[in-house]
């Protein structure tokens, strides 16, 4: 315990910098990943078979392969196919977005499909234009299912960024590696990283609970 405190006083700067990297990557991943997820979810509900098939294959690939493999793939392939210089960090963030987009599209699709079919029919039978059916009737009800699941996906994403340490990109697990190689206090430096993750994610999941309760109370 003593050593942990001393480690923290000495190396807190490195951990905080790593935390910054973790938060930054998570935020970018979830924001762009959500846009990608909405797009893919709409593709998967499209009338066109080909679009549906493409989206399905994408989701299957993401779900059927390890996230680490996907990151390696982006890290190796993206610099070769783009015609401008791209950093490792950018490749990895692209990989994380690619990964999160598939899971988020599932969340959104499930959320939309959980809305009773009768709601679509009633809204249409009144003569509401299709975009109003979606924005006024279906979305407000789907959001109750989507938002909590999306927040949980955010937590998953935060933990997922730790994979970036494999590529020595600035984030919390990389901070652990740095501190460990400077001090050889492996367990202690790992515990500090663990505490920070725990603090972050427990806080977040509490907020999600609060949000869920809010959303449910508006039902009555």
């Amino acid at each position: 315990m003593d050593k942990i405190v001393r480690l923290w006083t000495r190396y807190s700067g490195i951990y905080i910098k790593g935390l910054g990297g973790t938060l930054w990557m998570s935020a970018v991943t979830i924001c762009i990943g959500t846009l990608l997820g909405i797009f893919v979810a709409l593709l998967r509900m499209s009338k066109w078979k080909l679009l549906r098939a493409v989206a399905d294959v994408y989701v299957e690939i993401v779900r059927g392969t390890p996230a680490l493999l996907q990151l390696y793939f982006f890290w190796l392939v993206v610099p070769k196919v783009v015609h401008f210089p791209i950093s490792d960090t950018q490749c990895i963030v692209l990989g994380l977005i690619f990964n999160a987009g598939a899971y988020i599209s599932e969340i959104i699709r499930a959320g939309l499909q959980a809305v009773d079919k009768g709601q679509w029919e009633a809204a249409r039978s009144l003569g509401l234009a299709e975009r109003n059916v979606m924005s006024r009737i279906i979305m407000p009800q789907a959001i109750k299912n989507i938002l909590p699941a999306l927040c949980n996906e955010f937590i998953t994403t935060i933990k997922g960024t730790s994979l970036a340490s494999v590529f020595f990109i600035n984030e919390l697990m990389t901070s652990y590696k740095t501190v460990n190689s400077a001090t050889f206090l492996a367990v202690q430096s790992l515990c500090i990283a663990g505490f920070i993750y725990l603090l972050l994610n427990v806080t977040l999941s509490r907020l999600v609970k609060l949000l869920e309760r809010r959303l449910q109370s508006s039902d009555r």
Binding site: G118, A122, S125, L126, G127, L128, N132, S218, D219, R220
Partner: protein
Amino acid sequence: MTDEIIRTEDLCKSFGKLEVLKGISTSIRRGEVVSIIGPSGGGKSTFLRCLNLLEVPTSGKVFFEGTEITARKEKINLYRQKIGMVFQSFNVFPHLTVLDNITLTPILEKKIPKAQAEREAMELLERVGLTEKAGEYPGRLSGGQKQRLAIVRALAMQPDVMLFDEPTSALDPEMVKGVLEVIAGLARSGMTIVIVTHEMGFAREVSDRVLFICDGIIKEEGPPEAIFTMPRDPATIRFLSMVL
């Protein structure tokens, strides 16, 4: 020219291999109350849902006020605004208050000012005895109240015809009467009504015409007295002997 409001020509609908409607041609006059009866799975609801294209017919035509609505799908919501529909499962919008359930579509699609839409909604709520529920969410309403809300929500669009798809089948017995009274009141006020129902007494009392739909076709039709007292088709006779 007869004053017909809806006409169908050789309406057919299949779900995959299952032929549900096998050619239904009929027309409904303005102000007419038409009850559709028949055994479950016979195509009654599917026929009704084809009238506002909630189900797209496999073949055949639907005319609304002289226009073939099966021909130009892109403007179907404009026709749906004139065709009110009430469902077995109410389908009120749970995330909106009772008042907002009613005013949403008039405000959005007919561009009626909010104050006017709310005034009209309150008048409608008064007609069905729900005035004091205006600010509540539908979760607080009983089944009968939800269905009465669904009826006035459709009426708020001032439709030319109202379609009812087994409006009392999901209700507790003690709620049925209140809802039927509202529908009977509408019928008396001259509204054109097409209703799929298992309430034979009601069909007999309020309808101008009864359609007996079975196996995807109109097996028999006529004034309620004729259908109920001297049915001619063997299928009608069998069906009525079971339900009456």
